[in-house]
């Protein structure tokens, strides 16, 4: 079920009403069935994959707690390899096949690829990563194994964040799901505001930008450089609005149920460096890679060349996590490279970022935005040729002409988003809102509501991150 659907607008109040009407001991059952129903609205049979993940990691968790040394390690390996194999089969089968075919033909072998018509289950990368974090933590002894299968299932299935995160740890979400919640006006009110804001961001900004961006990326050489540049920068906001909108709605829904989940975004386009960008963009994934890949590789306790290599590995794996295509790997590699270069530059020159919004920081934020936008081209492009065409069009089709398709409504909303970002920089939207006097607060609600209901895009686009 999509958040931006009529079904969800009925589903959420019904779940909320039932949730608070039920005694606490039965609520996990409601959350379980509501989450299954939510997920099965996409492709019903894929819920079975989730059940397999849940069972494997639940059993592995219990087994690891009862064993030590080698058997414990074996259980961890069993859990991780099962998750990764599932992910590889559904997400990377075609990719591996295609590359094997290319390599074998390059080496002069005859390789007949196996063609399976596999549809990637929505949000599989999120479920597997969330579930894997649990088994790793149990293995490390930082997390007690969950004995209640229902609560563990809800940790993996929890409907507000099940298909596109944030990727929560059991320590936080598991405990939140287990603790007794009373109906609380502030949670309901703040949750509602977040849902409203998230929907506005998704439906007004992302969905208004998508038609223009899609047209340009489909045939970039047919557009002027100004139009292609507009699409490149607009995509930066489209993906931000899309994912930030989703995460905000997820946060709001969970909060209405009295459950706190982590912030996934903190005004990322106001970052002054790539390093800072990754502390503000898709935070739950960045911290996952930090804890389960970067630190095991040695973290920052190794020499600079090894550290640089580790960073490159982490970012390239992160790229591959996003999609089974080399363009995603390049996207990750470019981020890694910039991160390494930034580090070396700061080390060599002794440069340190200052606080506040002086001219230098404004320039640095703009530089970071331009760089991330250009790198997004590899993320958005369907293949390398498509990405090359985008850059070729920017270079060769030099013209100020922008008349072929209108993108001004989307830019209007982008400005609104920038204004909101500046306003709640280093804070949270609903907290900033609550500090305002009520007439101003209600004026903001009215503007948001009007934008959402009257100016949202008329074509529906599913959340970009659902495909991961």
């Amino acid at each position: 079920m999509l958040f931006n659907s009529l079904q969800f607008l009925f589903f959420l109040p019904l779940v909320l009403a039932a949730y608070y009407a039920l005694p606490f001991r039965y609520r996990w059952i409601l959350i379980f069935f509501a989450s299954c129903f939510f997920y099965m609205a996409f492709v019903p049979r894929y819920i079975l994959i989730l059940f397999v993940i849940i069972l494997i990691d639940y059993v592995s968790g219990l087994a690891m707690e009862r064993t030590a040394d080698r058997p414990k390690k074996m259980w961890l390996l069993f859990s991780l390899s099962s998750n990764i194999l599932l992910l590889c089969f559904f997400k990377y089968f075609g990719f591996i096949n295609h590359n094997a075919e290319l390599i074998s033909s390059w080496m002069g072998f005859q390789f007949k690829p196996l063609h399976l018509d596999i549809i990637l289950p929505i949000g599989l990368s999120f479920h597997t990563f969330q579930s894997m974090s649990y088994t790793i933590e149990v293995y490390r002894g930082r997390q007690k194994a969950e004995r209640h299968l229902g609560y563990f299932a809800n940790y993996v299935l929890f409907f507000p964040q099940m298909v596109a995160g944030p990727i929560e740890r059991y320590e936080t979400l598991g405990n939140e799901l287990r603790s007794k919640k009373k109906i609380n006006y502030l949670n309901l009110s703040n949750g509602f505001k977040l849902v409203l804001f998230g929907l506005m961001v998704k439906m007004c900004i992302a969905d208004n930008a998508a038609p223009f961006v899609n047209q340009v990326y489909e045939k970039p050489l047919e557009f002027s450089s100004m139009e292609v540049l507009a699409a490149v920068f607009l995509f930066s906001f489209q993906i931000y609005a899309d994912f930030f909108g989703y995460s905000t709605i997820a946060l709001g829904c969970a909060l209405m149920l009295g459950i706190r989940i982590m912030d996934n975004f903190k005004t990322p386009y106001l970052s002054r460096s790539i390093t800072e960008f990754w502390t503000r963009w898709h935070i739950s994934l960045s911290t996952w890679f930090r804890d389960y890949l970067y630190i095991p590789l040695g973290g920052n306790k190794v020499k600079l060349p090894r550290w640089s290599l580790n960073i490159m590995i982490v970012f390239m794996v992160s790229g591959l996590w996003h999609g089974a295509n080399w363009t995603f790997v390049i996207w990750g590699a470019l981020h890694g490279l910039l991160r390494v270069l930034e580090h070396w530059f700061n080390k060599l020159t002794g440069f340190k970022m200052k606080e506040g919004w002086g001219l230098l920081n404004v320039f640095l934020a703009l530089k970071t935005f331009v760089l991330t936008s250009l790198i997004w081209v590899f993320f958005r492009a369907t293949n390398f040729k498509n990405a090359a065409d985008i850059f070729r069009a920017i270079k060769n089709n030099w013209s100020y002409q922008t008349a072929s398709i209108s993108f001004y409504p989307a830019f209007f909303f982008v400005l609104l988003l920038i204004a909101f970002d500046l306003w709640h920089y280093n804070s949270r939207f609903e907290l900033r809102l609550n500090r305002l006097a009520w007439p101003l607060r209600w004026s903001i609600y009215s503007v948001l509501l009007f934008c959402l209901m009257a100016l949202a895009g008329t074509q529906k686009f599913t959340f970009i991150y659902f495909q991961f």
């Binding site: 009007f450 959402l452 209901m453 895009g457």
Partner: protein, 347 residues
């Protein structure tokens, strides 16, 4: 807390009402014009119209070498120079859409005296009912729903209408062809459209030299898929026409159902008498069902000879000038009873 929540809900409802007014005076007309131009046309013309002609591509498709490129509705209007004829036309439309168009007239002080609605036999078939064009058609209706305009606009953004994907619609169509049994009063070897179509696709037509005649076989398959069905009240379009008929009766608007001509000659030569039997049986069903006091069925099914159809290698209701003239004359003739004083022979 309950009091606080109720108070906020009331305040929220008030804000929504205010925003609806704001939307009505700002973006509504532009949205309406873009998304539902046909409903807008109906609302703008309702009080100055005597006869509406609701049509689809059959009304306005012309042959390249037609000396006169005039639509069926305009040709009909020539017979009634004193009447105000308005043509509302959209490709691939059907009774489900016409029904909605008519309902959008509700609330006007003056309604038209008559409505001529295109009754296309193929619009009852599975391919049309599950066509990929159905989604944009359904989308065009959202803004005309009786809910507040702001809510309609929001529903449009949520795509809250019959918004199935092409794949879903195709699956429904294939399933219907596979599972719906064809009924004949005589023995016939194929039980479903799928079986019949497969047989034609595999056996098909042969050229005089014995080789496979792909063009003829493909066309024959199209005829089977387009016309092989038994009409009954389970068909969604029949229910739509029932609603149209009831609405017209309740609002004292005379209804003329213009049953379009089909290429029975081709159906006979390409597929056989069984298909022609079904086409005639379905025609009889429609004529019988809708010939009432308030409704006239203009039976054009066999009014246009095969060579007057524009598409000789496809199943359409697109006619050359002579075909359009014939149909328009028959529509005009049917209208004569109601508008005898306004009638003037045009050709």
């Amino acid at each position: 807390m309950l009091g606080k929540v109720v108070l906020k809900i009331i305040a929220f409802a008030c804000v929504l009402s205010g925003l609806n007014v704001l939307y009505n005076v700002t973006f509504f007309e532009k949205d309406f014009r873009t998304i539902s131009p046909h409903i807008l046309k109906l609302q703008q013309t309702c009080e100055n119209t005597d006869v509406y002609y609701f049509g689809e591509s059959s009304n306005t498709t012309f042959r390249g070498d037609d000396s006169v490129k005039t639509s069926i509705s305009d040709l009909t209007a020539l017979f009634y120079p004193g009447l105000r004829f308005v043509n509302v036309n959209k490709e691939a439309t059907h009774a489900g859409i016409y029904r909605f168009w008519l309902r959008s007239l509700q609330g006007h002080d003056t309604l038209p005296k008559a409505v001529v609605i295109t009754l296309n036999l193929r619009s009852f078939d599975a391919a049309w009912r599950h066509s990929k064009l159905e989604t944009p058609l359904q989308e065009s209706l959202v803004m005309g729903s009786p809910l507040p305009n702001l809510v309609n606009r929001f529903l449009l953004s949520l795509q809250a209408f019959d918004n199935k994907t092409e794949k879903q619609r195709e699956e429904e169509m294939l399933n219907e062809w596979k599972t719906t049994l064809l009924k004949f009063p005589f023995g016939f070897k194929y039980k479903t459209v799928r079986e019949w179509d497969d047989a034609m696709a595999n056996g098909g037509h042969k050229k005089p030299d014995g080789s496979w005649d792909n063009e003829k076989s493909v066309l024959a398959c199209h005829y089977i898929k387009g016309y092989a069905f038994n009409l009954d009240t389970n068909n969604r379009r029949v229910r739509d026409f029932d609603d149209i008929s009831k609405w017209c009766e309740a609002h004292h608007v005379k209804l003329y159902l213009n049953l379009m001509a089909e290429n029975l000659q081709y159906a006979d030569s390409l597929v056989g008498k069984e298909l022609v039997f079904l086409m005639r049986q379905n025609r009889d069903f429609l004529v019988k069902r809708y010939t009432t006091k308030n409704c006239v069925v203009i039976d054009n099914l066999e009014a246009v000879p095969g060579h007057d159809f524009i598409d000789q290698n496809w199943t359409t209701e697109h006619y050359g000038f002579r075909g359009r003239m014939t149909i328009a004359a028959k529509v005009a003739e049917a209208l004569k009873k109601q508008f005898i004083n306004e009638y003037k022979k045009a050709y």
